[in-house]
Amino acid sequence: MVGVAALGQGVARSIAWVGALARFFFHTLEAARWLPRAGRRVAFRVLLRQVWFTALQALPLIVVLSSILSFLVISQAVRELGRLGATELIGRLMVVAIVRELGPLITALAIAGRSGTAIAAELATNKVMGEVNALEGMGIDPLHYHVLPRFGAALLSVFGLIVVFDVVAILSGLLAANANGMTSAHYFNIVLASLTLRDVGLTVAKALVFGVIVGMIPSFHGLAVRGSPTEIPVASSQAAVGSILAIFLCSGLFVVLLA
């Protein structure tokens, strides 16, 4: 009985979390409609700073992850599929497994872990230090100053870094294919022949959805703290767990509904 009650409480908490997050998301979208003209300049500055941190500073990490992953997968695939005489499948493997599935997934996870936790910790600290209250007191909506720019920056950064991940993965795959005796022309032929408009569309859709997750969940947890410094690491951890979970769930939904 106690177990059932605990399970029920857990489910109720999860539903409440999703509801609160959805409300926060729609409030943010609504706030965007009446961002003052002058406020747009201020928000744009914050957005640029966030893009610098979220996208540009994360570039080396994404390049390393993408090149190593692609090199390992394609090296193994050329060898194993070569034995079966099915090297043509490398193109499909590259497009489906790496460009369409792992590219967006790993990029979003890396940004959620690196920047999502930082966003949550930063906003939670702002709240604890009274900065959010001071903004409100000056007539500046924290959604305009803190959330919208981070949301926009997360969308741009996730999208941009997924493109970088995929391009680097294809180039790294080329190196792996060359190292295992495949010519560059053949490699590009089979990869480009496997790439369809649908794959590109799915990758873009994932970039948008993961961008929303990385922009919203950390901001939500960061601003949800009440005022105690001990809540800062908790908010950071909740942001990381929530984002990772949401990214995996959405990735699964994409496969179930669209693949």
Binding site: W34, P36, A38, V42, G130, E131, N133, G137, D141, Y145
Partner: protein, 223 residues
Amino acid sequence: MTTLPLRFEALTLPGYPAPISFDVPAHHAVAVIGSEASGVDALPAYALALKRPRAGRVLVFDEDVEQLPRRAVLAFRRRVGYLPAGDGLLHNLSLKENVALPLRYGSDLGEREITGRIRIMLTLVGISDVADLRPADATDEQRRRAALARALAFDPDLLVLADPFDGLTTRAATELLELARGGESGAGSRRTLFMTGQSVPMRLEPRIEVRYRLAKGELRRES
């Protein structure tokens, strides 16, 4: 009839059932002093509709701000200067950028005009030589001066100050009060000031026209 800048009507403070009422007349400096437990800290938040009182209402320039839609509340707050407890400065911006923030967000002034106005404000509060410091690298007094400059950015008629003198020397507190008053008009100070805190330096008392003490839910006028 002139508009009353600030009126607290039958306000109930947390933990105390008896309502309190008082006015902040135009061109006056009004202070409410009380211990942390008295609930005095909540008054500035009520004045700016940052918190909702359990009962009663606050009228700012005859307007019940609590009843306004959110967008109008934010626009309304930009008409009132606010110096939060501590300083409320954004730690990732320099003191100068902090002072410029309300103007950049809430006015249609060009960048050159904002820069000029900020230079004047920083000189006025005496921190132009440290304007590029981040709050973490500035002293308490410099931070408080920057926060005051930020509160004065729109040259408001009403200034709400929470714990403005906390941790300051009497000299610094005197200067801060004079800057906040903004000079003298025929009826008193040019600006209307409403301040709360745990104490007011004795030397400043003559410069504060109305002083209340809040204790155990009772408001007593001291001057």
